[in-house]
């Protein structure tokens, strides 16, 4: 499965498209890590716990989108967009969407 965030896939031509595919996931870190992060907030710097959390969940959301594209018979997803939002305190929601296509 090829993923791009541009209109096309360089060097290949799109022959067929299947419309929108998307994947999403909501994750939360446990209270211990939340507390550690709030302490880290005092001094600033990278919040490793959250970086990891968001990376993992974005990966899962992407996997879900790819799963949808595969179901439709696509072999690539073009113009992929990532979106993050906070639904509730401490939980973040990752959303990935794109257009499923078949390339040759």
């Amino acid at each position: 499965m090829i993923l791009t965030n541009i209109e096309t896939i360089p060097g290949k031509s799109i022959v067929e498209h299947f419309g929108l595919v998307s994947g999403s996931t909501v994750r939360a870190k446990h209270v211990g890590k939340d507390i550690m992060a709030s302490l880290k907030n005092l001094v600033g710097g990278e919040l490793k716990g959250y970086t990891e959390l968001l990376h993992d969940s974005r990966q899962q959301a992407t996997d879900r989108m790819v799963e949808q594209a595969r179901q439709l018979g696509a072999n690539a997803v073009v113009n992929v967009r990532f979106a993050t939002s906070a639904i509730a305190q401490g939980a973040s929601e990752l959303y990935v969407y794109g257009t499923a296509v078949r390339v040759e």
């Binding site: 419309g19 998307s22 209270v31 179901q71 018979g73 305190q89 296509v101």
Partner: protein, 287 residues
């Protein structure tokens, strides 16, 4: 580029797991942790309470009883205070711990609930509906002695401390989400009640001993409970959740103690006339 219309089957973005199962797993996990922390902190509170200086307790008491201070002393209030004073004179702890006893004050508050409360600083609040449930001075003295028993065992501070611990745990752990902290508070109140009921029984026994010292006999000790159990048609199951033990259980516990110690039963002193026709509703409530 051609478009192929195809519908997706299933939904990869939604997990097919049972939310109820997840709910119970998480709930039991949270309760386990909270109970563990609560018990540990509860022991810490007990440790502090037994070493708390009297001045601090008095200060706490003045914070608490400020609401009741302005209730004017009526004839019934003065009479009640006299019964209490006579009891306190016989308090076995007065002599064992010099100058460690606060000045005990009783406040008679118009209220429709038959109950009495021990507040920090030696303040006892008696709701007027309770007096309607007793027929003799001895029974009234037993209720006051019961509250003195709470002071002797430091239950009033312990209850306060434990509730404080409860509150801090739930806010520390859950912060913003109030529905969850409500749930945990509610479950913990049940655990708390198990402690309370043991405390109530201990205070009953303590009061019985004091009553015997004051009047030379223990008549009227179980009068209040007998009247209550006659009146209340609540089943045993509901009492499982209540703060106080089932009245019949308390009567039985008292009778056991009476037999063991060989306490006597004599003529009861009838209730003073000033206790008749007390207002049950707060004066300002209108209706």
């Amino acid at each position: 580029m051609k478009y192929t219309a195809k519908a997706l089957k299933g939904n990869v973005n939604v997990s097919r797991t049972s939310p109820i199962k997840e709910f119970f797993i998480l709930l039991s996990g949270v309760l386990g942790i909270v109970i563990l922390v609560y018990v540990a902190l509860g022991f810490a509170v007990d440790f502090v309470v037994s070493r708390l200086p009297l001045e601090i307790e008095q200060n706490l008491g003045s914070l608490y009883s400020g609401i009741y201070v302005n209730t004017e002393k009526t004839g019934a209030g003065i009479r009640l205070q006299k019964i209490l004073d006579e009891l306190v004179e016989k308090n076995p702890l007065i002599n064992s711990r010099q100058q460690e006893e606060p000045e005990y004050k009783v406040h008679l508050v118009p209220h429709s609930q038959a109950n009495a409360i021990a507040l920090p600083g030696g303040n006892i609040v008696v709701f007027s509906a309770l007096i309607k449930e007793v027929d003799s001075e001895n029974a009234l003295a037993f209720v006051l002695a019961h509250e003195l028993g709470h002071f002797a065992n430091k239950d009033h501070l312990r209850g306060l401390g434990r509730r404080l611990v409860l509150l801090s745990i739930s806010t520390a752990l859950l912060g913003a989400d109030s529905s969850v902290s409500n749930l945990i508070m509610n479950s913990l109140v049940n655990v708390e009640m198990k402690f309370s009921r043991r405390q109530e029984t201990m205070a009953d026994i303590w009061a019985l001993d004091l009553l015997n010292r004051r009047y030379g006999h223990v008549s009227g000790a179980s009068e209040f409970f007998e009247n209550m159990s006659k009146k209340e048609k609540r089943g045993r199951i509901l009492y499982y959740f209540a703060i106080h033990p089932y009245p019949e259980d308390r009567i039985n516990a008292l009778e056991d103690r009476i037999q063991k110690k060989g306490y006597l039963e004599k003529e009861k002193i009838p209730l003073d006339k000033v206790f008749e026709d007390l207002p049950v509703k707060p004066a300002g409530s209108g209706k």
